[in-house]
C-alpha cells in the first residue's frame, strides 16, 4: 500500500468514525455499512475470481434469519448471533458452491440464481421464518454481555457528548464491517488472492499450472458467502427484522448493481456503490415502482457506457 492510499484509507476511516456526530443518521449509516460489506463480499467473487453469483441474497437473507432466530428465540448475545448467522451462511455457501462450480460462466450465474430461488420458496413455507411477516422485533441485546445496544439512556461520552443506543450499535456494526473488510483485503493481496485472479484471467492456464481451480473457486465462494452472511446478520440486528425481501432475487440483483456501479474488481468500489444505491433508495422511497425503473436504467447505463464503475473510472483516469 503506497502512502497516498494509506492517507485515503485514513480519511475514510476517520469519516466513518465521526459520521454519526456530523449529521449522519445512525440507522442509515448502519444499513449502508451492511450493504457495503455485502457488496464487498460479492465483489470478491465477481471482481477477483470472475464468478457471477446471481443468488447471493440467499446467504444475506438466510444469515439474517439465523441471526434473528438466535437473538430472539435463543436469547444469545449479538456477537454470538452474528457468528451463528455467518457460520450458517458459510455452510450454505459450501453446499451451493460445491454444486455450482461444476458449471462455468453464464451457467454458474443461472445455477446460483435457481438455487437461491429454491431457498426463497423454502423460506416462504418454513415455520421459523415467519413467512410474509418475517422475523420482527429482533432484540439487539448486550454485546459481550456488557455493552447494551438497545434502548437505555447511556451515560454521555466523556460526560458531555450524548450517545444514543443507535450510535453504540453503529460502532458495533462498524467494528465488524472493518473486520470483514480486512479479511477481504487480506485475502485479495495474499497468494490465495493471486491464484483467484489468475483463474479470472485465464482459467485453463491456471489449471495447467497445477492449481486445483475448482477447489480455489469453492474456497472463494465459501468466504464470500460467509461475509455476505455476516452483512445480513448485522442488518437483521440493526434494523431488528429479517424478511423475505432479504432472500429475494431482487436483493441478489441489487448487490450486483452496487458492485457494478462502484466498480467491479476494485477494493473500495463496492463500498461506494452500496452507499450510492442506499442513498438513492432512501430518497426515492416514496416513488414506488420508479425505484425499480431507475435501478434498471442504472444497470443499462453502467453496462453500456460505464463498465469500469465509479472507482474503476477514477483509478483509470489517475493512471493515465
Amino acid at each position: 500500500m503506497d502512502k497516498r492510499t494509506k492517507i485515503l484509507y485514513g480519511i475514510l476511516l476517520a469519516g466513518a468514525v465521526i459520521a454519526p456526530f456530523v449529521g449522519g443518521y445512525p440507522l442509515f449509516l448502519m444499513s449502508a455499512l451492511c450493504f457495503a460489506l455485502f457488496a464487498c463480499a460479492f465483489n470478491l467473487l465477481i471482481g477477483f475470481t470472475g464468478l457471477l453469483s446471481f443468488g447471493h441474497a440467499m446467504f444475506f437473507g438466510m444469515a439474517a434469519y439465523f441471526c434473528g432466530h438466535a437473538a430472539k428465540v435463543w436469547g444469545l448475545t449479538p456477537e454470538l448471533a452474528v457468528l451463528i448467522g455467518t457460520a450458517g451462511a458459510a455452510a450454505m455457501g459450501y453446499l451451493v458452491g460445491w454444486l455450482a462450480v461444476r458449471r462455468q460462466g453464464i451457467y454458474f450465474a443461472m445455477v446460483t440464481l435457481a438455487l437461491s430461488q429454491m431457498v426463497y420458496f423454502i423460506c416462504v413455507q418454513a415455520p421459523f421464518t415467519g413467512a410474509e411477516d418475517g422475523l420482527q422485533n429482533v432484540p439487539r441485546g448486550k454485546a459481550f454481555g456488557l455493552i447494551n445496544l438497545q434502548s437505555t439512556p447511556h451515560d454521555p461520552l466523556f460526560g458531555v457528548i450524548p450517545v444514543s443506543d443507535d450510535i453504540v450499535m453503529y460502532y458495533f456494526v462498524l467494528a465488524l464491517f472493518l473486520l470483514g473488510f480486512g479479511v477481504i483485503y487480506r485475502a485479495i493481496y495474499s497468494p490465495f488472492g493471486q491464484v483467484l485472479k489468475s483463474i479470472r484471467e485465464n482459467e485453463p492456464r491456471a489449471l495447467s499450472l497445477g492449481y486445483d481451480v475448482d477447489k480455489y473457486k469453492l474456497m472463494a465462494f465459501v468466504l464470500s458467502a460467509a461475509l455476505a452472511g455476516m452483512a445480513g446478520a448485522l442488518k437483521a440486528l440493526s434494523v431488528g427484522a429479517a424478511s423475505l425481501t432479504d432472500v429475494s432475487w431482487q436483493m441478489s440483483g441489487e448487490v450486483v448493481l452496487m458492485t457494478l456501479l462502484g466498480g467491479m474488481g476494485t477494493i473500495l468500489g463496492p463500498v461506494l456503490g452500496a452507499t450510492t444505491i442506499i442513498t438513492m433508495q432512501n430518497y426515492l422511497a416514496g416513488f414506488g415502482s420508479w425505484v425499480t425503473i431507475i435501478m434498471g436504467v442504472t444497470f443499462v447505463v453502467c453496462v453500456l457506457a460505464f463498465r469500469r464503475g465509479i472507482v474503476g473510472e477514477i483509478a483509470y483516469r489517475l493512471k493515465r
Binding site: I106, A114, W249, V297, F299, V300, C302
Partner: protein, 295 residues
C-alpha cells in the same frame, strides 16, 4: 370413483393437465432462450418480461381497442418482437465482443425497467383476461373433464415448438442459423447478412416469449410479476436440459411441467421447489445437462 395410488383419477389427471400447460410454457420460453443464446451468446434475462409484455399487449388490445383473441395472437407477439428489435439494434449489439455476463446484466436491467413500468401503470394485482367464446366449457373424456382452453394451449404450444424445430433443423433458413451459431465470421464471408440474422433471431426469440404470454393470459391473470416468477424456473429448465439442443429444450420443458404437476398431487409442499431440486441432482450426475455438450 377410480383411484391411482390413493389419488382420485380426476384430480390426478387435472393436475397433470395443468402441469402439461405449464410445461408447454416452459418449453416455449426455454426454446426461445436457447435460440437466442446460440446466436447472440446472450442469456436473455428479460425473457420473462417479454412473456409478461405479450400477455399485457393482448389484454390492452382487447380492453382498449376491442381486438379479439385471434388477432392478438398475431399482433401482440409482433409488438413484442418490434420492441426486441429496437433493444437489439440500440443496446445488445454493443456487447457481443464482451464477456457473456454483460449481456445477462443488461437484460436484467431491461427486465427491471419493463416490469417497473407495467407495475407503475397496473399495480401488482392481476387483470383477468376473458376466455374467447369458442373455448368456454370442457370436453368430457369419460375419465376426466378436459377444459377446452387448456387443450388448445397444449396443442398450440406443441405445434409452435415443432414448427420451430422443423424450421431450424430441416430448412435452408435454419441451416444458415445453425451455421451462424457455429461460426458467424465464415457465414458472413459466404455473403449472408449475419447482423440482420442476429437481429431477427432475437426478435423471433422474444416474439416466441410474447406468444407464450398471449396464450397464458386467459389461464393465469395478467400480472406485471408473472414474468420474473417464471423466468427463474425456465433458467433451471435450461440448466437441466442444456442449451445445446432444440429438441432437448422442448422435451425438458414439458417433462418438468409434468413432474411439477405430479408433485402438486403427491407432495404439494415441494411443488415450488421440485424443479430446482431436480436441477441440483442433474448437476451432480451430468454437469453439462441432459442434452448438453461439454465444451
Amino acid at each position: 370413483m377410480t383411484e391411482i395410488f390413493g389419488v382420485p383419477t380426476q384430480a390426478l389427471m387435472g393436475q397433470l393437465m395443468i402441469g402439461l400447460v405449464n410445461g408447454s410454457f416452459y418449453a416455449m420460453l426455454s426454446l426461445g432462450l436457447a435460440v437466442i443464446f446460440g446466436m447472440l451468446n446472450v442469456v436473455n434475462f428479460a425473457h420473462g418480461a417479454f412473456y409478461m409484455m405479450g400477455a399485457f399487449f393482448s389484454w390492452m388490445l382487447l380492453n382498449y381497442f376491442g381486438v379479439n383473441y385471434w388477432w392478438s395472437l398475431l399482433l401482440a407477439p409482433l409488438g413484442v418482437a418490434i420492441v426486441g428489435i429496437i433493444i437489439e439494434k440500440t443496446m445488445l449489439r454493443w456487447l457481443y465482443q464482451l464477456d457473456h455476463l454483460y449481456g445477462l446484466l443488461l437484460t436484467f436491467g431491461l427486465a427491471l425497467i419493463i416490469e417497473g413500468i407495467f407495475r407503475d401503470q397496473y399495480g401488482v394485482s392481476g387483470q383477468p383476461y376473458d376466455l374467447p367464446e369458442l373455448f368456454k366449457g370442457a370436453f368430457d373424456l369419460g375419465f376426466m373433464m378436459l377444459p377446452k382452453y387448456r387443450a388448445w394451449v397444449i396443442v398450440a404450444c406443441l405445434s409452435i415448438c415443432f414448427a420451430t424445430w422443423f424450421v431450424i433443423e430441416r430448412t435452408r433458413l435454419g441451416s444458415y442459423l445453425r451455421a451462424g451459431t457455429e461460426n458467424p465470421k465464415l457465414v458472413q464471408a459466404f455473403g449472408i447478412n449475419v447482423p440482420l440474422m442476429v437481429t431477427l433471431t432475437y426478435a423471433f426469440g422474444v416474439g416466441l416469449a410474447g406468444l407464450a404470454g398471449v396464450l397464458a393470459a386467459p389461464v393465469y391473470q395478467v400480472n406485471p410479476l408473472m414474468g420474473s416468477n417464471i423466468v427463474i424456473v425456465v433458467f433451471a429448465v435450461v440448466v437441466i436440459g442444456g442449451m445445446g439442443s432444440i429438441l432437448g429444450a422442448i422435451v425438458t420443458g414439458l417433462a418438468l411441467g409434468l413432474i411439477e404437476g405430479l408433485t402438486k398431487v403427491f407432495y404439494p409442499e415441494a411443488s415450488a421447489t421440485v424443479v430446482f431440486i431436480i436441477m441440483a441432482i442433474v448437476l451432480l450426475i451430468r454437469p453439462a445437462g441432459l442434452f448438453g455438450r461439454e465444451k
